[in-house]
Symmetry: D2
Subunit: 331 residues, 4 copies
């Protein structure tokens, strides 16, 4: 009830502080008999890892997944799957000077007000490191809905903008997940300049879901759009969610909107209609700015690293709703 | 698990189809000994009722709250509070012609695909009538957090826009909830024209929360922003949610954002910081357009009527988190 | 979270005080397209009704089920099903004298201590009337698992005891649910004597489940036996639960126990194994004794009336676990 | 939803198979600022460990608790607390011969039927090793309700019986938890004989709770007695639960029962009344009998080792209900 679990039939329970011994996650509700590959899971974690993208943080975090339960001879057992990732790189001394330093927009101050105690060595639970748990969950969610394709890409990174859905949506837009890869050099320079100046920037991510089964999502409170919104807003830096036409809907006539189903982003009445889904979220700039940001342990822009986290949360929602809908298919 | 309940320590379970015998709600987790006023509850329902706002639907719905349990001698008992509102105005014959008529963007088609059966006489569970349950819940949520003020207003209604937070935020902006009431005549004419043309329009609603206690919201998945997003996106026509600077965050430098706490909309790390909260949501235009819309039983713009629903959902989230936080305050 | 809901995929939320306007229940998670019969539902309620069994309470309660939602043209819609039963017979004046009268073993005193307020006109939520909600839920649970047969009977009623499982288990043992119906006259005289003397008695109920699918029940905390125990102990007067050999297991050697599968009451490791299930529960005597009991509004023995409630709770657990298991059967 | 979590405001999520890398538990809802002692936690685990009690299994399991999160500088952070215990002693080869060997009354067969796959090296999730998670949870539950005293003792171990509540209830009755410690030598001989003969025995455990606050437990489904029953029946070998007078209630007149409050075991209407609580549970004999049992890796009687598990589950229920009741105490 402290909010560290998400999902109903497929649920993840996340734990770990950034500077404690380990991050981890327990996945309950993974059906038995699904084929598991540690390599595939590790690949997902590697996509999120820092230090690999120019202009993002230079810390090397060794995010090595260790399976503690729920897997036997390469298959899921149907029992809870626990995965931990050791925190190997925490140099606590680096953080002592920020003990009483509360970054605006970050949880430092509110966590202290809420609990009366805080692991001041880092972000604690509010650290971006918590998202490794989500990436692990996304991998297992993917095993439940193997035919559904979920792809996120950066549509806006400060001054760089990509306004349409790329045709080659399933291409690899590494390292920035920006579809116009001819801009990669420019983006790199831009991010390096930000870092030199102790500055940070946010951006926007669009999410495309193809081949989602019809009928997922529950009327009233657990509409698919509502659960997507919650899942994505539960990511630290996300400040907005929209689907389909989004904010433009406010100024578009009903007749216009109704002309094309894609206006509705693949959901009608909060239930998937089988069409391509489309969602957009906004990330705020990293909270660490100024002198501390210049030290180079913080990303001036976290969005490229957040892409696998975003995809994971969308998969988690879909896998959960898939099992829920399946429960009621009795004959 | 069919998604008709919301909230954990303070929960509402909603039921009823628009053309069945009654709509209703069961509220569990209302503390005992709170003073109850049927008049106050009825006033909240009346704010939502159609037929009272020029340019909105002319159907008269008699939304009379009937208390079935949980109240005794003007006080809450601490037991579940059940409230029903009879559906008195359903003329099923009017709806027969739309039996196989699936409005784009509405749940008609997806509900049928999901369940294989649908109460075709109206929107069923997907009808806007379902929101009476939420308004009732909002009233009781307000009893739990009496000092918190929640105010929603229309910031955009098609071409009409109000870009700032009005100073006199707690004024009554009836009937359109648009703060520049000098525009009321213009809005009335605009809405009447829409209706004549079988057209509809959406808009934007901003939500202000004052005097929220510090420390509400749970790190990881039940961040306050995440629960607000879910609560608001669970309202039928809502297509976007943002808080603080919202989508602008994508193109604002970190140093700018950090200059003023209001950028963060009263939440840091997903936890309330005691500042004024600010959220914005977008409503899509009503799904009924064309000839059916001209018949006059449908609102060309539902936003003014949605205001009490929006306020109710925000209060529900706050009351739930208030009780959750209270649970852990042991000494 | 106030404990008025039970079940996960198939859940019931119960409401109502014995002397308020109505009792009721909301059922969420009933699959769509199941055939509904109001007559069948009403029959279940009539089995529980007082005033029909000699030696049980003479109050006539008109427990008429009113469907508020979730049913359309004789079928379930897949939406929440709300059913209310009006409280027509409450003569509050009769109860005024017991305002400060706390019956030992009854909730009167503890409810007052817990909430600081109580509907003193009757048992409030703690009244046996609350169980009408469970009987309604049991009816719908039965629609989900139509092939599973659940039968409860009285194995002990004070001095009357029936030690084996009757061969003709699915016979009607009306009115006392005691399999040796040749004792009915004796039981009637015994109960009438108890009432004359302001006395009450408890008893034991055995539950037989046939044709339960294999594989229901979840390892760890939601073992089938654990959920049965919770469901049955949640009935007001129940003070013990056992399954299979029960308390005898304490003094039986392992080799003996293992000789016959029926020792385990149809469950191994908390999971149904397809064999006949067998459970036993104990009811304490009615709390009202002495002068008040002589007035004749209270049953000297509630067990015969509790039989449909017991069967209902067992069905609720089975329907819930059936849907849960079904959720994970993906191909 | 796979049943590996228990509790609402204070919840434990358990994971691990007996022959996988580790057992573990995540505790969510532990308030912040509570003093933590690794030594105290380890002591609780040691009470459960095998190999220390003559006549119980001779395997040495090194149950060393490793804290992964939620503790900082000797205090709880209010974040989820993850604890793992490595499985160091699993010699898989020993178990190969029992791959297709299904012990009656054990989960071997039903787990295989349910999931279609099983970790045949041992009991998997159904192993008694799973209970280490519960003992860890019990330790933290105790931090939440430090004034409540929970004591379990063996009231029946095959032919040995102790019929009353001992006056010196908080004494240490090691090693068998049987209050008449003058029988220890006899019990030892009895258990050794059982083992020689490949035989096993069950027993009964009584649980005493003192100083429980008034008002815990929720009417309707989450009555304290119902949650105790579920918690205790979720322990593998437990086959019955009763409280207060228990099964005797069936044959005791209402006037007798009402004479003394202790008849009701400290609960009225499912709510704690402040009196001493009294519950009794039955354990079935260990499932492993015959030649395999003679090999000496299995306990002929698990009850002495189960005592800390029983106490833990009772504390978990009480801590959860304590926080729930606290949530609703608003002023």
């Amino acid at each position: 009830m402290r909010g560290n679990s998400f999902g109903k039939m497929f649920s993840l329970t996340s734990f770990g502080e950034s500077h404690g011994p380990a991050m981890g996650v327990v996945l309950d509700g993974v059906p038995s008999g699904l084929k598991f590959s540690l390599d595939d899971l590790q690949s997902e974690l590697d996509r999120r890892a820092p230090g690999k993208i120019a202009g993002t943080t230079s810390r090397i975090e060794n995010d090595v997944a260790e399976i503690l339960s729920g897997i036997f001879e390469g298959q899921t057992l149907g029992t809870p799957i626990a995965v931990i990732i050791r925190n190997t790189n925490q140099k606590s001394s680096d953080y002592d000077k920020i003990k009483n330093d509360h970054r605006p927009g970050h949880a430092d101050r509110t966590v202290e007000m809420k609990y009366g105690i805080r692991d001041h060595r880092g972000g604690g639970r509010a650290s971006g490191r918590e998202t490794v748990a989500r990436v692990v969950a996304g991998y297992f969610a993917g095993l439940i809905i193997p035919k559904v394709e979920v792809k996120a890409f950066v549509s806006c990174l400060g001054p760089f903008e990509f306004k349409v859905i790329p045709k080659d949506i399933y291409e690899n837009f590494a390292p920035y997940s920006f579809p116009d890869t001819s801009k990669n050099e420019e983006i790199k320079n831009y991010l390096e300049d930000l870092q030199k100046n102790g500055e940070s920037i946010g951006g926007r991510v669009r999410i495309v879901v193809d081949h989602c089964p019809v009928g997922l999502g529950e009327p009233a409170f657990d509409k698919l759009k509502a659960d997507f919104a919650k899942a994505l807003l539960s990511i630290g830096a996300v400040v907005s969610f929209s689907y389909g036409l989004g904010e433009e809907m406010a100024v578009t006539l009903g007749s216009e909107v109704s002309k094309t189903l894609s206006s509705f982003g693949g959901m009608e009445g909060g239930i998937s209609n089988g069409d391509r889904m489309l969602m957009t979220i906004t990330f705020k700039p990293t909270s660490t700015v100024g002198e501390k940001a210049k030290e180079g342990r913080h990303d001036p822009c976290i969005i490229p690293r957040a892409i696998p986290v975003v995809e994971a949360m969308v998969k988690v929602v879909l896998a959960d709703h898939y099992l829920r809908q399946n429960a009621y298919s009795i004959k």
